[in-house]
Amino acid sequence: MGSGRLYLAVAAGGFRRYATYRAATVAGVFTNTAFGVILVYTYLALWDEKPHLGGYDQAQAVTYVWLGQCLYATLAIQGGGAEKDLMERIRTGEIAVDLYRPADLQLWWLAGDVGRALFQMLGRGVVPFTFGAVFFPMALPTSVTPWAAFVVTLLLAAVVSFALRYLVALSVFWLMDGMGVNQVLMITGIFFSGMVLPLNAFPGLLGDIVRVLPWAAQIQMPADVLMGETDPLGAFAFQAAWAVALLAAGRLLQSAATRRVVVQGG
């Protein structure tokens, strides 16, 4: 199909664009590794104090840390993916050009962001994760099935992550300034994705709430699927449901925004 090829090309473009920032990638690997080391020690102390916190043992907690560092840039947890460019295009009005492109706006940006995520995963994520696996005890599966399920859950996580950021970015149509929006993205991303603490270690009602929010699809779900802590099919369903809901919301908002652009003449 012709359009499938188009989005594939857009994704490849996203991949290549980030692949050109080589020094920045190396710098990012270094920083993620450093943060990983710091977090691992604090988690080890925490799990030392309270073994089986959130149902994890120490090795699982360590695995969670390195997975978080691996997915930090991949899923643009605190922003900085396709939505950054999208916001800039909305702010400058260049978005009007995109609207006339014979392609679906949302899919176009999704493809680009998936390409970016793939590069960030390979370029920035794999090395800190491997570093963690070599120097700290990790709980990694030895059979193929969990790894295969992990790949699926990662893909779904990438879509949920994009759909969230896309939704937030569209708000710039009404706010005309991305600073505040970026802040919101950053705070929610770091906190609700479980970068601070695994969501399953959150106490009481707060824990019950954060575990059903869409951000739970980003790190917690892939981590649990990889370590066999949850039923993969249930995780897929959870992620897919949020992906569909958020993409649909994005579409609704997008059509409202498009009408606005057309009415105002850009």
């Binding site: 920032y21 190396v26 710098a27 710091i38 020690y41 604090t42 505040g180 770091i190």
Partner: protein, 273 residues
Amino acid sequence: MGERSALLEGLRAYRLIAGMWMRSSMTYRTSFVVTVVGNLLVTGLDFVGILLMFSQVDSLGGWSLPEIAFLYGLSVTAFGIADLVLGSMDVLGARMRDGSFDILLVRPAPVLAQVGADRFALRRLGRITQGAVVLGWALVSVDVDWSAPKALLVPVMVVSGAAIFSAVFVAGAAFQIFAQDAAEVQNAFTYGGTTLLQYPPSVFGKDLVRGVTFMLPLAFVNWVPAAYVLGRPYPIELPRWAVFASPLVAVACCVLAGMAWRVGLRSYRSTGS
């Protein structure tokens, strides 16, 4: 021009340029308010994380919550001050790539002062504020037998810590001259450093503690003096006077960072890149 007058010139230029950036940010008033609040929240998330941990446990690495809040408050306040003063130095690489760095070199003011004041942002007061609030809470809740030297160490830690982190920012800027695209590396030392110091040294491996004490002496921001104030053993053997050594370490760091900056600037002026 003597060293002293160069310093005064630098401070003057810094004030002038920082003033311009402050005025610039005020032109987008709503954004300004939003980012101040946002900064407060973002930087506060670390402490929320610590609180979450303590909702599950009573101590971490053998330290109580007020004790860790003491470390946190010192680390974040000191880092916040350095971040407010020099936090935008990571735009240096971008300025070199787009050529606007050259403009700073034709102005009659020390380049370091101009780079330091670049993108000066008052919203960074958010971090200092929440760090100071946590420190204040820690000071009243921590179980310490306060003596004059212990009380004196608190402001000394904040000031020396701010100077040590400032030195890290300057060294990071010098590094960017050689690796313009690798600005993020300094995040590992700045943001990574302040995160590390929020937790007790007993949590970390001895080699890491040794590195942070002797090689990149971030431990003197709070760990070493705070361990004394709180009456906690420091994981590695140090002479007694080390608990009061923070100002000296800060001066040494600043001198070294200043030298690194000079080398970097000289290299830029001879290679143009």
